[in-house]
């Protein structure tokens, strides 16, 4: 039996969105020169706070806002530790992930098995019934479209606005930006909070819309995939979108190949999302001189105004 491309595309879009949201937030954080390895922790806290609010209030919008707030609170902790107390970003980020997973488990006690409200589709049924284009373009909940719009916005702001220029300047050379009078620490803290909100939103989408349940440890590495995507996409927003859809697409495809009983070794299918995504993104960023230019020069470096 052949794989139905329409359901495949629908599945890949939904499967990719949590990772996409987290990755686009992390991209902005890294563009300002901060490496926050706590994405997984922020995602899972967003997943649990979003789910709790969804169950308690019955509102999907409030749930997403709560997920963003949850991720932001955790990222604020990271911001204070790394930007004010000048702790090591790698170690702090890793600790943030461990802390987030534990905190989420604690907050979520009693919630596994609760039923969240249904996430509404935003387009009328008539549009969704259009063959092929209907389910692919109009068959989703609002967050799917917001995620794509977020990518476009991040791209536009970073590439075409003064704000973007300042953000990038802080990431390329915090000393130069500081000398020009930009508040390096303040800008970085805001970027970190934005990243936290995005990761939390990704987590909330996962628990409220995709899995529709809170289960301890449910992100199972999605945050790490988001981090990897940012690097392989060489810090370019549209490539993050492409990478996320590619990863989600191959994941969805390999499950469908198994269901359709195509004779390919399972181990190969299972590893294919990782292998294909890495190969493709390495190929498109293979011009080493240009790729190196994309990595923010001050990434992961501690800034102190007296230096």
């Amino acid at each position: 039996m052949l794989i139905d491309p329409v359901t495949l595309v629908v599945a890949l879009i939904i499967a990719s969105t949590p990772v996409l949201l987290a990755a686009i937030g992390e991209l902005v954080v890294e563009k300002t020169g901060v490496l926050n390895l706590g994405v997984e922790g922020m995602m899972i806290v967003g997943a649990v706070t979003g789910f709790i609010v969804a169950v308690e209030t019955g509102s999907v919008t409030l749930a997403y806002l709560a997920g963003m707030a949850g991720g932001m609170v955790l990222s604020a902790l990271f911001a204070i530790l790394t930007q004010v107390l000048l702790s090591n970003q790698v170690a702090t980020g890793l600790a943030l992930t461990l802390f987030g997973i534990g905190l989420a488990a604690l907050l979520g006690v009693g919630y596994p098995g609760s039923t969240p409200p249904r996430v509404p589709d935003i387009f009328p049924q008539a549009l969704q019934d259009i063959p092929i284009a209907g389910p692919i373009l109009f068959g989703h909940s609002a967050m799917i479209y917001l995620a794509v719009m977020l990518v476009a916005t991040v791209w536009y702001v970073l590439q075409h606005t003064r704000t973007g220029l300042i953000l990038r300047a802080v990431g390329e050379s915090h000393d130069a930006a500081h000398a020009l009078g930009y508040k390096v620490i303040r800008i970085r803290i805001l970027a970190i909070l934005f990243g936290g909100a995005c990761a939390g939103l990704g987590g909330a989408f996962l628990s409220v819309a995709r899995v529709q349940n809170w289960i301890e440890g449910m992100t199972v590495g999605a945050g790490w995939i988001a981090l990897a995507l940012v690097v392989f996409a060489s810090w370019k927003p549209w490539r993050v979108l492409f990478g996320a859809y590619l990863f989600g697409g191959i994941s969805a495809l390999q499950l469908r190949l198994q269901a359709a009983e195509v004779n390919v070794p399972v181990a190969l299918l299972d590893s294919s999302p990782y292998v294909v995504t890495i190969i493709v993104l390495v190929l498109i960023s293979s011009d080493r001189a240009r790729a190196a230019l994309n990595a923010p020069a001050s990434l992961g470096k501690v800034f102190h105004a007296s230096g």
Partner: protein, 360 residues
């Protein structure tokens, strides 16, 4: 890893005190549980923790339990078990297959401590027992229901890893689905994980997109149920009843029931009658239970499924009763023949009619 110590409050003692009052006064018998997953998974580890709670409640003050969750299989497990024993544990219950080598290594160093290892097969020291449940008996009943309930005649199966207990489950479900509906086809996806809600949901969606309208799962989360609900397909609870999805999509469940086993073993250890065993119990010992079959299932199917359950529980019928051929057509069981426990426990092939291949 979280280590929590739970001491019962005085109010919970009323019923339990009778059982073990002789040693209840000063030094409670301490049982340490180590899990690979979290007790909040609503599946495998959750049901083991329910067993622990039953143990606690049964003995009251006489037994104290200690829990370590999310312990990695390997050296870390050795460290956690050693720590528990030095902290006073008299019995260790390890609830994942992969803890086997660590359990035996620690058991060699502490010959006075009793070890119970779920789904394991390594018993290198006289103080190590293994225990398992005959999940395939439950799968037979689920397969029977699935064969009746499918309209597309395509049944989806989300499998974890190609190990004997999973293979037994697929075979048993398939044999009993085709028994009532010879046109049934099984589509199996190897998720290569015990627990990943996102992948489990994707796998369920992929099976539904391929036309499946009944979904089995041998993975631990409820994610496939949420997908099935949306698509109007049916599913079965795994390890835990998952009754929040009843009456549909969850139409029945295989429920693990470890409490009585833990109570029996702790009692034996306290009495000094504990002996090394390799327990493999099923429906007849209530080690697994059939979750309530919901009203989404027609009355006569509910009745025939329960009749099947009863005939397995009474020992009258074995879910693997010949004639059964292996996938490649070689005969496995002759007419009326049933397998020995040894070869069945190591089952590594599919039965004739299944088109799935062994993963890896």
């Amino acid at each position: 890893m979280k280590l929590t110590r739970r001491v019962l409050t005085a109010t919970a003692l009323a019923t339990g005190l009778v059982a073990g009052s002789a040693i209840a006064q000063d030094d409670p018998f301490t049982v340490g549980f180590i899990h690979v997953g979290s007790t909040g998974d609503m599946g495998w580890t959750f049901t083991h923790d329910q067993g622990r709670i039953a143990l606690d409640e049964h003995f009251g003050d006489a037994v104290e339990t200690v829990v370590a969750e999310s312990v990695a299989e390997g050296a870390d497990a050795e460290r956690v078990m050693t720590q528990m024993i030095l902290g006073g544990a008299d019995m260790i219950v390890a609830t994942s297959f992969g803890f086997g080598p660590a359990v035996n290594a620690v058991a060699g160093r502490f010959p006075d401590v009793y070890f119970e290892h779920a789904t394991g097969y390594l018993r290198e020291h006289p103080n190590v027992s293994t225990y398992d449940a005959r999940f395939y008996e439950g799968r037979a009943v689920m397969g029977h229901i699935a064969g009746h309930m499918t309209e597309s005649n395509i049944i989806g199966y989300i499998a974890s890893y190609p190990i004997p207990s999973v293979i037994q489950g697929i075979n048993s479900a398939y044999l009993h689905a085709t028994q009532v509906n010879p046109d049934v086809e099984f589509r199996v996806i190897w998720a290569n994980t015990w627990f990943d809600p996102a992948i489990e949901a994707d796998a369920a969606q992929a099976l539904i997109d391929e036309g499946a309208d009944v979904i089995f799962q041998h993975t631990d989360s409820t994610a496939p149920h949420a997908v099935a609900q949306e698509a109007g397909a049916f599913a079965f609870g795994q390890a835990n009843d998952m009754s929040q999805f009843a009456p549909a999509p969850r139409i029945s469940a295989i429920v693990d029931n470890w409490g009585p086993y833990y109570i029996e073993r702790a009692q034996a250890a306290m009495d000094g009658t504990w002996e090394q065993t390799a327990a493999w119990q099923g429906l007849s010992e209530d080690r697994i239970l059939i979750g309530e079959i919901s009203e989404a299932v027609p009355e006569e199917v509910r009745a025939s499924a329960m009749a099947l359950r009863d005939s397995i529980a009474s020992g009258e019928y074995h879910p693997f009763t010949g004639p059964i051929n292996q996938q490649d057509g070689t005969p496995w069981l002759a007419e009326g023949e049933t397998p020995e426990d040894g070869p069945l426990a190591g089952m590594g092939f599919f039965v004739e009619g299944l088109t799935v291949e062994l993963g890896n």
